[in-house]
């Protein structure tokens, strides 16, 4: 299947990926993405009807370990990279807009 992506498609994909593409840049990204998608679609020319999928390059074995508790990463240390925290919790803007803001 050959797809031509337009600006609306790019805005949609960006939204799914939690990205924002500015109006200035949307043209450039659309052309580039269209070229990239054209390039990857050369796979269409290959018949793969009976070929199994391969999702990794490893020989996986099920590795078991003793069911024993081990110390995890230190909680205080984990907070060293947190930008804003309060009472041992990470502070973020309001998740649900209930009119109270982030009190």
């Amino acid at each position: 299947m050959t797809v031509n992506v337009n600006e609306q498609d790019i805005r949609h994909v960006a939204k799914l990926a939690k990205l924002e593409i500015s109006d200035d840049e949307i043209k450039k990204f659309t052309v580039q993405m269209d070229n990239i998608i054209d390039m990857v679609e050369q796979l269409d020319t290959l018949d793969t009807k009976d070929v199994p999928e391969m999702y990794h390059g490893a020989f996986i074995e099920n590795v078991m370990r003793e069911d024993k508790a081990v110390p995890g990463t230190d909680r205080e240390a984990l907070f060293e990279n947190v930008k804003e925290s309060k009472d041992g919790l990470i502070r973020v803007p309001a998740i649900i807009d209930n009119g109270e803001g982030d009190a």
Partner: protein, 483 residues
């Protein structure tokens, strides 16, 4: 002769015989860095104070004659986390990220006694083939400062090639160790998928990513791989295989070894000087007693398309974690959580990372999943089967690492598809999960050419043996850029 012209083994002997000290070696490293770094730009972070302190400590404790790597310097690519040292993956989104623990490889090189001298520049999140997508700086090729060092491990390769460090760690998802090794005239190994733990490697394409060493000589490379390999409970994809001594039998030679040269790798698109150097390498192997014959990897041409779908899909998932909440860059002025995510990611990621996230998101989205992601996974099987068929009758596969030598800075960065197509000879290896090395095999128009040797799964030993035989028979690894 500068201290940095010595191999790791020579430096070790000098340390044991008290002809030098770890501090003296480290001082020479930083002298060389300060002499060349303005031109090269290999490092994002230099940890001079810590490294010199550590070197002094090791001198005081005494160098253990049985610990070959102890007291010796190494550089680390900046997508491998290092406790207490800034780790950015060359992205604004991690511009102030100081990890609170070590990657398994960072821990292992410390256990081996090696001392990190700093963190090396790269394409942002390892996405690129020129190191030009780094948020922080440009790295230049020591052989010609107007050329790229390759990528994504361009900082690691340029640091080793310019004599700033004897060895460095890089990562290879689609060629990011081998291609910069080729562009800089040095040795770079991408081990078998699973050979080296990825714990603490900032993930790009999890089914493809591997950490591996850069060095000036083949044996130095094997010594570093010895130190970083092995199963790790923290990486469930790390292989349970025994790790051999990769230097054992390295001098056995290639007499009777069967080497296949894929006709697809020697086709029209090669720069003439690259083709010539590789054909000469074939003759060298024949003269050393190897049996070199033409073989076919018929699905090679589909490697790029399958790779960019798979790697980008995995990246789009892996990079969801960068949201401005727990670490890294956080955008100002967001009024809702959703806006915080979107602003943080849009300001924090560069264009190439955005393109890959969008390609991956597109390939995984409803309506395109079967035609893109699933199709690529099937093509991946065909590519792996191509390798398996050849390896039924051959010990190694030989070809160029890249179709050209290092290109001009700014030459490809504006055309993403041209940049992607340049990976055609390296990505099939990652898709199949097999190991491969790039070693210097000549020059084309003054720039180094890389020879790629691809081996069977977990057979890095045969690769090293063949690479070492070539190195002993040639002088390309002794050439140095004029800086």
């Amino acid at each position: 002769m500068s201290l940095l012209e010595h191999t790791l083994e020579e430096l070790h002997t000098m340390l044991v015989n008290k002809e030098t000290t770890a501090e003296e070696i480290m001082t020479a490293v930083f002298a060389r860095i300060s002499e060349t770094e303005d031109k090269i730009g290999a490092f994002i972070t230099i940890t001079e104070e810590e490294a010199l302190l550590k070197a002094r400590e090791m001198d005081e404790a005494g160098i253990d004659p049985d610990d070959l790597l102890s007291g010796l310097p190494i550089g680390i690519k900046d997508n491998i986390i290092t406790e207490g040292t800034l780790t950015t993956a060359a992205s604004r989104i991690l511009e102030d990220f100081v990890p609170i623990y070590d990657a398994t490889v960072s821990k292992k090189i410390k256990e081996a006694g090696m001392i990190s001298v700093g963190k090396l520049n790269m394409d942002e999140f390892a996405m690129g083939g020129s190191t030009e997508t780094s948020y922080f700086k440009l790295t230049r090729n020591p052989w010609n400062l107007e050329k790229v060092p390759g990528g994504s491990s361009g900082g690691s390769a340029a640091a080793v090639a310019s004599g700033q460090v004897p060895v460095a760690l890089g990562t290879d998802t689609g060629g990011s160790i081998r291609q910069p090794a080729a562009f800089n005239g040095i040795v770079g190994m991408k081990p078998t998928y699973g050979r080296v733990s990825r714990f603490g490697l900032i993930a790009f394409g999890s089914s493809l990513d591997q950490i591996g060493p850069f060095s000036r000589t083949v044996k130095d490379n094997a010594l570093v791989l010895n130190a970083i390999s092995g199963a790790d409970p923290a990486d469930s994809m790390s292989a349970q295989q025994e790790v051999p001594d990769f230097t054992a039998g390295i001098e056995k030679g290639v007499k009777g070894m069967k080497i296949g040269v894929p006709k697809e790798y020697m086709s029209e698109g090669l720069q003439p000087g690259v083709k010539e150097a590789v054909l000469k390498a074939v003759e060298t192997y024949r003269s050393l007693g190897a049996i070199v014959e033409e073989v076919s990897l018929p699905h090679s041409q589909y490697g790029i398309a399958a790779y960019y779908i798979i790697a980008s899909s995995e990246a789009s998932s892996n990079l969801q974690r960068f949201d401005g909440i727990r670490y890294g860059y956080r955008a100002e002025g967001a009024e809702s959580l959703d806006e915080l995510y979107i602003k943080t990611r849009s300001e924090g990621f560069g264009d190439e990372v955005k393109r890959r996230i969008m390609l991956g998101t597109f390939s995984l989205s409803s309506g395109y999943y079967d035609a893109h992601f699933k199709k690529a996974a099937k093509v991946r099987t065909l590519i792996r089967q191509d390798f398996e068929k050849v390896f039924d009758s051959y010990d190694l596969i030989l070809g160029p690492t890249a179709t050209t030598t290092a290109f001009d800075i700014g030459g490809k960065v504006k055309d993403p598809v041209a940049m992607y197509l340049a990976d055609i000879l390296t990505v099939p290896v990652n898709l199949a999960g097999v190991p491969a090395i790039s070693i210097p095999c000549g020059f084309s128009e003054g720039m180094p050419v890389g020879l790629q040797l691809i081996g069977k799964h977990f057979d890095e030993q045969t690769i090293y043996r063949a690479a070492y035989a070539f190195e002993q028979a040639t002088d390309f690894h002794k050439e140095r850029p004029n800086l």
